[in-house]
Amino acid sequence: MIEKFYYDNKITKLFAIACITWGVVGMLMGVIAAFQLVFPALNLSEYMPYLSFGRLRPVHTNAVIFAFVGNGIFTAVYYSIPRLLKAPMWSATLSKIHFWGWQFIIVCAALTLLGGFTTGKEYAELEWPIDVLITIVWVIFGINMIGTILTRRERHLYVAIWFFLASWVTVAMLHIVNSLEVPVSFLKSYPVYAGVQDALVQWWYGHNAVAFFLTTPYLGLMYYFLPKAADRPVYSYRLSIVHFWSLIFLYIWAGPHHLLYTALPDWAQSLGTVFSIMLLLPSWGGMLNGLFTLRGAWDKVRVDPVLKFFVVAVTCYGMSTFEGPMMSLKNVNAISHYSDWTVAHVHRCLGVGTDFDLGMMYWLIPKLFNTRLYSKSLASTHFWIGTLGIILYAVPMYWSAFRSYFMMSAFTPEGQLQYQFMDVVQTVVPFYLLRAIGGTLYLAGVLVMVYNLIKTARSGVFSEYDEAEAPALAPYYVAPAGSIWHSVIERRPILLLVLSLIVVSLGGLIEMIPTFLVKQNIPTISSVKPYTPLELQGRDIYIREGCYNCHSQMIRPFRYEVTRYGDYSKAGEFVYDHPFQWGSKRTGPDLARIGGKYGDSWHFNHMLDPTSMAPGSVMPPYPSLFDNSINVASTNSKIHAMRNLGVPYPDGYEAKANQDLEKQAKGIADKLLTENQIKIGADKEIIAIIAYLQRLGTDIKAKDAAASAQP
């Protein structure tokens, strides 16, 4: 019996509008942050603490990843899934809850991040109430999607849906495992993992957020929109099978390549490297299937802006997935890690997602509004401005990465570092300016697109529903003889879901369980003690201001790092660090052993005006630390939460903690007064941050000082 049903275009339209709007906002934040690195005055620190780089950069990354790309995924899913399954979305109400829930999360995220409420874990900065909200909305999205799949009128699931399903279940796993945290107060929590373990979990998450939020959903998107736009059959069904399973299996293992040469155990690092190498071909499988689908349609690519964006996206995907494994090689990573190279790489990768998004919009909006694109030449203009923008972004970043590497690692024949850190900063700042201009161009291109799409929408009539009809699925199905084994999985969505979950959980389990359980992996160091209450408060201020966005706390075992920053970092030093603060980018110097390097007054003056102590610095000043008082009311619950996580504060220390805090703070304030005639209240936040910075890395130093007397 033929059934008649309707595809809901309204929800697609909503997600598309949200996607483009947040895209513009997120990119604008990026452009502002990029200019802040050149002109520190743009941090507006004298007027308010909310827009400093450390807070703005997470807003940029979260907005672009979760708001722009996220809404782009949902646009694709809500448009393609009903059509691929010949069934409307399972529940229009859930669709709406999903949409408004996600936008609410985005608004909350932006406000809390600017307010300094952050967990301090990159790309997972949102605090626990928002984490809970994300989980709920994600589950709602899953129920709606799986419900649609279960009520489908198409026997087999198309490859795009495999990718959507695997992405959904993996993101759920990543988000839940990485966000396990102990709440301290309404907007403050500590992650349950510490130090090396936290780093492993975080980069397992971070790497696979790239994989399963930014890549696999976009492959799903490509498998729907590319053959549609090109009007060509998908090149190879068996390649789809091979690269789908190999990709999701191998991706999950590669996280440790973000931690090469760190205190992570060697075996885990090696796994990260080899799985990244093996990941290359499965990634290229997606590229090949995309590019070869265009066989016989290349004449269209020249004129059709949609295909143009898709082709650039697919080829960029191929290049980025080649660059990625190369950057996972130890000797290459020694150069690229902490440098602008990674920044360039990730922006090119994201260029992939963005170009898929934009290509989809150019195809989708005219479709939804039953019209033709307002201006092909404007779309073409956008394409070229955007391409120029990416080039102008990436080339200076590569350049600056290599220059700073060669400067950082240069020694005089006498064995001294040839350049001060500030010399390097001064050298790369002009490149940062070029990068900011490149980003501005890219944003300008997107604005051209917004204008074009608005004009397109105005010229057409929006159809709220598309009518379709298809017979219901027969209750019994006998597979035709000779059908491939994989088709069994394709008609059993739950089996597909479970298999995907098994495949993606293997890598994480094998890497994490030994790191957590085998003591040898993180040898304890007896001189490493928990933070004092004042240092703990200082650490939370460090996290709040997003210092980790520019400063690492991980000295790699290289001569030039050990000479510059001090002895290389050991796994046992971080056992009380909830969360770890190793960072991923060094715009400023490493701070793992900053403790004791300068006097308190140096830090005092430096936080008030960085250029006074370090002429030429691009760090923003932090005048608010000199006005705000330490939130001593929170000390009790912080100590309590930390003890629950295994930090050995004595029982009942909560009650005494604030006495210790005040005593230590008074000591610092008094010393500033007597030695430097600096008058500052002992209750100010600056005292806490000085205490924390002066503690960093000193636990081991104290031991060494005792062992080897000064010559």
């Binding site: 198309y158 795009a160 549609k228 069904y237 190498i277 024949p413 102590m613």
Partner: protein
């Protein structure tokens, strides 16, 4: 005809580029030592490189002869032969030079120091690679000419497909493409919202490369964690530090730079001026440019008579070299050379007692012998301070 021109140009290029490539000398070793080879691996490579010169020479001779035979037979076409012969004459002329240049490379590399082990390998290997390429090129041409002598009829130029068409054919072959007309045969019959799926075979290079990447992964893990034949990061670090230490000691042995707190002397005016330059660039943040710091400043006033850590040259030297981190003075031994620290110490010594105004209030003890310079060669403190 155009084919021949391409050939001549290629011959020219290869001839001219060979000596150029071969003459790329390895970077001058930092410290020249007497030892010629780090290990037997180098010697082995060198032997191969030298042995390969013989076949190159022989092949070159054969080529010139076969070419002469070929063109004597095909003497009907006379024009453009001059150009062609010019090409081969060049080759004949350049070849011995190439050989010489390569031997030269081998000799220079032979002098490279142990520290440049990797460079030596790279240079030797690339020399061998170039030689192999040359052999391949020469043998290909010889074969062509020898063939040509038995079969004078050349394939017509017009019949050869264009470069693009040839590339497309190659491209289709490596990717195991089926022609688009045959598409119906490999259609899976799937149609999802109108999207059809073909079932093309996976390109064989893809399968091969994927298998290779898995193999590489296994070998990698084997080397680092089972055979333990490659250094893990801390081992690598120890090796790097040891090499650096050795290079530094080697260098310092030859320099008058190994001054330390026991041997430091007050230096003369030129060095004091150099010290002042460093001071203004690196120390001014805490001590102000004139060394007087400022009320409430981070570092102490260096222009008064008071000293926290001693006023003698060795004391000042030590303060700068090791720092007093608990008091906020960092150690500068990794930033400045011993000589630079001596210059800085001399500068600091020279401004002491000048009592510049606007500085930080005094800290520490009054110098016991501030009036008498530690070294008789030094200029009196105030004369230098006046130049300030």
């Amino acid at each position: 005809m155009s084919n021949r021109y391409i050939f001549v140009v290629a011959a020219w290029l290869s001839c001219v580029s060979m000596p150029l490539l071969a003459q790329t000398t390895p970077p001058t070793p930092i410290a020249t030592s007497e030892t010629s080879f780090a290990d037997s691996g180098h010697l082995f490579l060198l032997l191969i490189a030298i042995c390969l010169l013989l076949p190159i020479y022989i092949l070159g001779r054969i080529l010139v002869m076969s070419a002469r035979m070929y063109y004597e037979k095909e003497s009907k076409s006379t024009h453009s032969n001059t150009l062609f012969w010019l090409g081969w004459a060049t080759l004949a002329w350049v070849l011995p030079q190439t050989l010489q240049a390569q031997t030269a490379v081998v000799e220079t590399t032979a002098q490279a120091a142990d520290g440049n082990t990797n460079w030596l390998y790279v240079v030797l290997l690339s020399a061998i690679l170039l030689e192999l390429l040359l052999i391949a090129f020469l043998s290909l041409r010889v074969r062509q000419f020898l063939k040509g002598t038995s079969k004078v009829a050349k394939p017509s130029v017009a019949a050869r497909p264009s470069l693009q068409a040839r590339f497309m054919r190659w491209w289709a072959k490596v990717n195991n493409f089926r022609s688009i007309e045959e598409e119906a045969d490999i259609d899976t019959g799937h149609s999802y919202d109108g999207i059809r799926e073909l079932d093309n075979v996976t390109p064989s290079w893809f399968t091969f490369a994927f298998a290779m990447s898995i193999l590489i992964a296994i070998v990698y893990l084997w080397r680092y964690h089972v055979a333990e034949s490659a250094p893990l990061q801390l081992e690598e670090f120890r090796m790097e530090m040891a090499a650096a230490e050795e290079a530094k000691a080697e260098y310092l042995k030859k320099q008058a730079n190994n001054v330390d707190e026991n041997t430091v002397k007050l230096l003369g005016e030129a060095d004091i001026a150099a010290g002042q330059k460093i001071f203004v660039a690196q120390c001014a943040a805490c001590h102000s440019e004139n060394g007087a710091s400022k009320p409430g400043g981070v570092g102490p006033n260096l222009t008064d008579n008071h000293w926290l850590h001693g006023d003698k040259m060795p004391d000042i030297f030590k303060t700068i070299k090791y720092g007093y981190p608990d008091k906020g003075m960092k150690s500068w031994k990794d930033d400045f050379s011993p000589h630079q620290i001596a210059q800085l110490s001399s500068f600091v010594h020279s401004i002491a007692g000048s009592n510049l105004s606007g500085g930080k209030e005094p800290q520490g003890n009054i110098a016991t012998a501030a009036a008498t310079p530690a070294d008789s060669t030094a200029a009196p403190a105030d004369t230098i301070a006046q130049k300030h």
